[in-house]
Amino acid sequence: MPTTYRDVVSRALRFREDPKAVELLNKVVSSVSSRVYRVLESYPYLEYLAKEVSEVKRYSIANLDRLLKQAMESVERVGGRAYLAKDSEEARRIVGEIVGEGQIVIKSKSMITEEIGLREYLEERGNEVWETDLGMLILQYLEGERPTHPVIPVLHVSKERIIRAFKSRLGLKDLDEGSPPEKIVELARRILREKFIKATIGITGANAFAADSGAVVIVENESNARLTSALPPKHIAVTSIDKIVPTLGDAVKVAFVQAAYTGLYPPTYINIIAGPSSTADIEYERVVGAHGPREYHVVFIDNGRVGALDDPVMMDMMRCIRCGRCLIECPAYQSFGPSWGSGPYSGPMGVGWIYITRGIDEAGPLSMLCMHAGNCVEVCPLSIDLPSIIQRIKSMYVSRIMGSEES
C-alpha cells in the first residue's frame, strides 16, 4: 500500500500521543548514544578504522561491476554456489528453490531478508522458519511488526509487550509482567535449541562480503549467527551487492566499524564463512562437509542498487554499513522513532534505502520530516552526506506532487 504524506505525519502524531512509547524511545536512544560515545573514547583507533572503511567503500562502489564478478567467482572457487538476483522476486525464488518445501529453516538477523520478505515467502511454501536473533524472534511473535533499527530491531518494543507476546504464543504460565529479561532470554534459548539441531537450512545475511575470498563476514553477540551458519547441512548467505568489498581484511574492518558505531564493541563474535565445512586431514585430500554445512550458497541481490549508482548524490548511500548511528542522533528519529520509516528501514539512512529499494512514492513522504539538522552526516562513521541525499528525495517528491505548478 503506498504511503502518503498525510500517513507519515499522522503516524508521527499518533506516536507522539503515546507517552509510554515516547519514554521508551528516549530511554533506548540516549543509552545507545552514550554507549557509542563511550566506545569511541575507549578505543580511539576506531575512528581511524572508520576513515579507512569509508575509503574502502568508496572504492568498492566505484568498482562494483568488477568486484561482484570476482565475488561470484570466489564463491564458486571455495566450493559454494553464487547467484545474482536483480530484484526481490527473483531473490525469493532463488532462495525458495535452494530451500525447497517442508524444511525447518533457521535465520539470523538480516535486513536484506526483511527487505525482500523472505521469511513470509518461505513460510507460504510450507517451511517452518525461525528467527534466531532474539529481537527478530520477538518481531516474528508480534506478527506484522518490522524492525525499527538495523541492529536493534525491537528498539521500540517494551519488555511488557515482549512478555505478552511470548505468553500468548507459547501459553506459558511461569511468565508474568514482572519477569526479568533473563527469563525471556532463557525461554528463547530453550525454544530455539531444538530448532538449531533439527534445522536443515541456515540463512544468514552479511555485514560485509569479501570479493577476493568468497567470504561472508557477520558480526554478532548472541552466537545465533554462528550456530545458524554452522549447524544445518545447508548455509545460504543472502547479501545486497553494496556489501561487497575487495578483501577479507576490508570485510573484517567493516564488521569492526559497524559494531563500534552501534555501541557494541568489542563484538562478542565475528564470523568468517568462506565455503562449506571441510577437512583435509586424510592424506591432505579435501573432503567437503565436515561438522558444518556441506553446501554454501551466496545470493547477491541488486534490488535497485545498481540504479542508484547513476545518480551522483544517491550513490553515496551505497557506502552505508547500516550501523544505525544516524538514527540515534537524528532529531526526527529521536522524536518520531518507529513511525519514521517503513519496512526494515527507518531514520535518515532509511529514507535513502527506501528510495533505492522501493522508489520515490515510498521515500518521498518520509523525506519531508527531515529537518536538515545535519547530525546524521556529523556522526556517520563514513561521513555519508545524508542531508543532501534526503534533500534530493524531497525535491523529487515535491516536484512530483506539484506537477506543472513547480518545475
Partner: protein, 320 residues
C-alpha cells in the same frame, strides 16, 4: 488530519510570486527597522536581512494558524489562504502586536549598532532587498529556488554589492553553500555578522553586565553546517555572563523543530517543546541566534517559564 503538502507548498509559492517572500508580508514590514538609521542604499558592503527577523511574529502566527487547520481536518488551500492573508494583510497588521514587531526590528537595529561599533561600514537595499529563498530550498522546491537565487544575485550585482553581511543561519547557509551550486556568485563574499564582530572584537567596547545565568542554543545550520561555534562564545565572554552550556550544545546541538513548521506545525511544536524544556533545565534565560529557532522555541515554550533572547540583544546590553 494533517495538512495537504500541496496546499502549503502552493500557498508559499503564491506568496513568493505576489510579495517575494513565503509569508506574503509587505515591504514596509521588511524595511521599517532601518528607518532613522541613515544607512546608505546599497554599497560595496551591505547588511542583508532577507526579512527573516522581521517575519518572526508572522511566522509564529502563520504556524499557529496552520496548526489549527492541521487539527480541524480542513487543509483546504482556500481556507488557509484567507486566514494567512488576514495575518499579514496591511489592514490586519495590528493583529501582530506592535511590541513584537518592534522587538524583532530592534534585533536588527542592535546588529547594525554592533557592526558600527566594530567599525564596519555597510549599506542596505531597503525595498529592493530580496528574500533569499531559503524556505523554498528547505521544502524541496528546487526549481523555484534556483530561479529565485539567480534573481537575487542579479539584484546584488545591480547595486554593485561585493560583500554581504548576513544575520541569520538559514540565509547564511543557502548563500554560502547552496547558491554556488545554482548560480555564479562571482566575487560576492558572504559573511555572518557574528564572524564579523568577532574579527573586530577588540574594537567593540563590550563591558560586563549584571551576573545573570544564561544558557545557549546553537542553531544546527550555524554550528554543524557553517561551523560558527566559538566566536559567539568569545563575544559573550567579554560580558562576563554566567553561561551554562547544555549537554547538547556546539556540534552536538539539538534541533529546535523549526524546519517542520510548515510541514506539520504540531510535530514542529512538539520538538520545540522538547528543546525548550531541555534548555530550561539549564537556565530560564536562553540565548538563541536564529529567527526560526526563536519562533519555534517561543511556540514550544509557551507555557514554560523561560525568556528567549537573540544573541545580539545580549551583546547590545554589554555595548552599553
Amino acid at each position: 488530519m494533517p495538512l495537504e503538502l500541496k496546499d502549503v507548498v502552493s500557498l508559499i509559492a503564491r506568496n513568493m510570486e505576489s510579495k517575494g517572500n513565503p509569508l506574503g508580508v509587505d515591504v514596509d514590514t521588511c524595511v521599517s527597522w532601518a528607518s532613522g538609521l541613515d544607512l546608505d542604499k546599497g554599497g560595496e558592503t551591505i547588511l542583508y536581512t532577507s526579512c527573516m527577523y522581521q517575519m518572526v511574529p508572522y511566522i509564529v502566527r502563520f504556524t499557529e494558524l496552520l496548526e489549527k487547520f492541521e487539527g480541524a481536518g480542513g487543509g483546504l488551500l482556500l481556507k488557509i489562504g484567507k486566514a494567512v492573508s488576514s495575518v499579514v494583510d496591511a489592514d490586519h497588521i495590528a493583529r501582530v502586536p506592535k511590541d513584537e514587531r518592534d522587538r524583532f526590528n530592534g534585533v536588527l537595529r542592535g546588529i547594525a549598532k554592533l557592526l558600527k561599533l566594530a567599525g564596519v561600514d555597510f549599506g542596505y537595499l531597503y525595498e529592493d532587498e530580496p528574500y533569499s529563498g531559503s524556505l523554498l530550498y528547505e521544502l524541496g522546491l528546487e526549481g523555484l529556488f534556483s530561479r529565485h537565487a539567480r534573481r537575487v544575485v542579479d539584484t546584488f550585482r545591480r547595486f554593485g554589492v561585493r560583500r554581504i553581511i548576513v544575520v541569520d543561519p538559514h540565509t547564511y547557509y543557502v548563500l554560502g553553500k547552496i547558491y554556488p551550486r545554482y548560480v555564479d556568485m562571482g566575487d560576492l563574499e558572504v559573511i555572518h555578522y557574528i564572524d564579523m564582530l568577532h574579527r573586530y572584537i577588540d574594537r567593540i567596547p563590550l563591558k560586563g553586565i549584571q551576573g545573570e545565568r544564561y544558557t545557549i542554543h546553537d542553531p544546527c545550520l550555524l554550528a554543524r553546517f557553517m561551523k560558527i561555534i566559538d566566536p559567539q562564545r568569545e563575544l559573550l565572554d567579554r560580558l562576563n555572563i554566567d553561561l551554562v552550556e547544555p549537554q547538547r550544545s556546539r556540534i552536538k546541538t539539538r534541533c529546535c523543530g523549526g524546519p517542520l513548521e510548515s510541514v506539520s506545525p504540531k510535530l514542529s511544536k512538539t520538538l520545540g517543546r522538547v528543546r525548550a524544556s531541555e534548555l530550561a533545565s539549564y537556565s530560564r534565560k536562553i540565548i538563541a541566534m536564529c529567527p526560526i529557532c526563536i519562533s519555534n522555541l517561543v511556540r514550544g515554550g509557551r507555557d514554560l517559564d523561560i525568556e528567549i533572547y537573540d544573541l545580539s540583544e545580549i551583546l547590545v546590553r554589554g555595548a552599553g
